[in-house]
Symmetry: none
Subunit: 261 residues, 2 copies
């Protein structure tokens, strides 16, 4: 595959932007988490862990992009040509298999549900998240459209289950939450639903147009924007929920998180 210079540079710049955004978010979550009530700090620290993991992987992804393509041709005809060292898609999946379950941990931790309800929700969401990523990978690395479709479909099953849980059980647990944070929790939930829906669509870009450079750029830029929204921006919502709850709850309820202690 060949990429034009603007195509290669757009993706490279998006990767670099994301290293900065994720690293910045990590610093913010680790420092801004400190003044919150202990019960809610853990949700914000887990957000910090998620964006720190993503920051690391975007460093690797950036490097892999730069070793995966090399400029060839004369000045007038210069293009980026694939090298013998293929761009490594596995960094994304290594990232997701760590971070996607942790995003579920953040969400459940900030809700501070009663322990049994919280643990049941957490267990199911984490297992579904791991299954969703693990089932997507064999399709992602395959060049065979049938294989790509099969694993896309298999990965959609746990994805739809997560959406179902977020839209039913999480909605009904909203009533247990203080009125002042219901809007923020609902917004965080919609952020996940919309950002996560972007991944299966971006995946299909290279399924429909294999070897097409525009599809590859759409995939890389799409995954990258979705990652920034689903991790850094979602983490900001988690912080805002944790901060508001820290402010309005009476001091005596402060202790360690019921679900994670």
């Amino acid at each position: 595959m060949q990429l034009s210079i603007p195509q290669f540079e757009l993706v490279s710049n998006m990767f670099s932007f994301t290293i900065a955004a994720m690293g910045a978010a990590a610093l913010f979550f680790f420092f801004a988490g400190g003044p919150l009530r202990p019960k809610y700090r853990i949700a914000v620290y887990v957000s910090g862990v998620v964006v720190a993991i993503a920051c690391y992987h975007y460093f690797r992804i950036y490097q892999s992009w730069h070793t995966g393509y090399a400029i060839t041709g004369t000045e007038a005809t210069a293009v980026y040509q694939e090298t013998n060292t293929p761009f490594n898609d596995a960094y994304r999946y290594a990232d997701w298999i760590l971070t996607v379950p942790l995003l579920m941990v953040e969400l459940v931790a900030v809700l501070a549900l009663p322990v049994l309800l919280g643990r049941s929700l957490l267990t199911r969401l984490v297992i579904a998240a791991v299954a969703m990523i693990a089932l997507g990978y064999p399709g992602e690395i395959s060049a065979e459209p049938t294989t790509r479709w099969i694993f896309w479909g298999l990965s959609m099953v746990p994805f739809l289950y997560i959406l179902y849980v977020l839209l039913t059980e999480l909605t009904s647990s909203l009533e247990r939450q203080p009125e002042q944070v219901r809007g923020r929790i609902s917004a965080a939930r919609w952020l996940i639903i919309l950002a996560w829906s972007f991944y299966p669509i971006a995946y299909l870009a290279t399924t429909f147009f294999p070897g097409n450079s525009t599809a590859e750029v759409v995939l890389q830029v799409g995954y990258t924007i979705a990652d920034v929204v689903a991790k850094a921006l979602f983490g900001v919502f988690i912080y805002l929920i944790a901060a508001k709850k820290s402010e309005i709850e009476p001091a005596e309820t402060s202790s360690l998180n019921p679900v994670l202690a």
Copy 2:
């Protein structure tokens, strides 16, 4: 030795995943340890130190893997061929000689045993852990099957002693622990026993099949998974024990750790 492209990439991706997992765990342990009682913080901070050391070493191991093999051949016949710079197994042993005794420190610290019992247990476990790693190394770097077997056997002696201590003395000290954490302590102990048993088995892969590329991949992937389980996942159990004990113990018992102060 030659590795196929998927073999080389599997190991490389496992190393990168482990850098991320260990680094993430380090951030979590250092930040999430803060809200715990001072007495239990030290166990979680030592967990943080262990995974930070491992994160560093996996950076080195990743680099060494990438300089130890180079792609050769045309596109159709491309394989990874060993270079003149051999892959450096010593990074693992440098890691283990630091981290394995510290894992014993974590475990004894979180139990917060009476000082004499705790110190005696700690001293014996640390000495055995150092002996286990130091005796394994001469076998690991040898290509001679006899030498490999001799040091495997010598290293098994302190290893079996550690298992014996964990299964006898640690089991009897379980009764001193609050009921709410006995299940977690027992789980942490079994995690060590199972994860640590994996190392002597992975070691034998290259003893039985020297110069075999599959055996090398099994060894590297096996050691890596065992490290993630024995350090990061074990640390999560230590955190959960420390968090629960922080929550249930009356405030006046809070002080520095009896064994480490």
